[in-house]
Symmetry: C2
Subunit: 206 residues, 2 copies
DNA sequence: GTGTTACGATACCGTTCGGTACCACGCGAC
DNA sequence: GTCGCGTGGTACCGAACGGTATCGTAACAC
């Protein structure tokens, strides 16, 4: 019973309110088809309600997008915290655990369409858009946490190791979009381990 | 005078035909704002012509998108081939050169919005779309070439090293979209070198 | 000359977009 | 009771979407 990062059926107990149904429908549709590709009519229809309830609950499509991304951000960190909690006081184990589980989830789930927050950065260019702030904050936080784990693990260059792990995660997400098959994701946890080794080995022998 | 992978001003001598102007305008607009965000009217206006010329030359927006991605794919491999040609018979030097120049280009260019082909995979979900084939083919080819370079370089597990390098490239592209600053891209060529080292060192000492 | 080709201009098509106005219903609270 | 309040239904708005039809014309062929 692993968490599934993003496209889980229910974030909350899901009270059957119109707002909640709209929210879940939007989350699923945005993720599967893209934000711009999904109209408010389609969301309302999928939620079994009408556009009016959408605007009563969220004000605008842009605000709905922001609300969905905010929830996905929260969901991601919940998964993250639960995962690293399994290896307390073991930063190396925590990173390895993160990447192992990440690889499993990304590999198993056929409907995985990468990271919904990163995907949004392709479609939302306007720096004033409320969702744009969430995207940048999410990735800055991810990089910060990876660098921090790298530091606590005693890496020679923790910022660089954090960068490397960040690139691996991002690359894995993107690969799930760009390949019909699994693509290079199958190697991500192995490679992460190798990079940790490099940055923690006593000294470069050559 | 490095090539610039994607958003160069001119792919071809740019004869001042309507079709060519439409093509260049579409390439720029799709890359900067996203494919779905740009309408055919905007493309025609930016090209200083009318919608009719767009449809006369390309048939439909979808076909124009495919034509643009096809050109971007070609442009990318031209840059690739030119870059590795500088280190003939030196696969290790070729990969390092690729990643060094890639990092420079991605870092210098403020208008870098990641990889236009990978970005398209976010917006184009339909597997029947002509552009979708190009996206998948481009990434399969990239993975194939990286694995081949890894093999010629004598890596212990060339497929895994190829996967790793692929993830680094993809992650770098994505990072340029998700950070306001440079983000982890600044480490990509260093990390690529480290991974090559790991996969070519005589044997794991531990 | 007469085609042929490419182009610009404009008007138009049906559909969908994000967003709103208005009304009627069922509900629990008081 | 009746008062809100959330809700569903529907009709609607102006704008933009992808795409088409028609006409005129400048450039070039033979």
């Amino acid at each position: 019973m692993t968490a599934d990062l993003f496209n889980l059926s229910a974030v909350e107990p899901a009270p059957d309110t119109a707002g909640e149904r709209i929210f879940q429908a939007a989350r699923e549709l945005f993720y599967q088809q893209g934000i711009r590709a999904v109209g408010v009519d389609a969301i309302a229809a999928a939620a079994g309600t009408t556009k009016m309830s959408l605007y009563r609950n969220f004000g605008s499509k842009d605000q709905l997008v922001a609300a969905v991304l905010e929830a996905q951000d929260r969901l991601f960190w919940e998964w993250w915290d639960e995962t690293i909690a399994r290896c307390p006081d073991d930063p190396r184990g925590q990173i390895e655990c993160l990447f192992r589980e990440f690889e499993t989830i990304a590999s198993d789930d056929d409907s995985c369409r990468g990271c919904p927050i990163a995907n949004a950065s392709v479609e939302i260019v306007d720096t004033d858009h409320p969702a744009r702030r969430i995207v940048v904050r999410h990735h800055q936080e991810m990089l910060r946490r990876l660098r921090e784990l790298a530091a606590r693990l005693g890496a020679r260059d923790p910022d660089e190791l954090g960068d490397a792990l960040m690139l691996l995660m991002g690359g894995s997400f993107l690969s799930r979009l760009c390949f019909d098959d699994l693509g290079p994701v199958r190697s991500v946890s192995d490679v992460a381990r190798q990079l940790i080794d490099v940055h923690t080995r006593a000294a470069s022998p050559a």
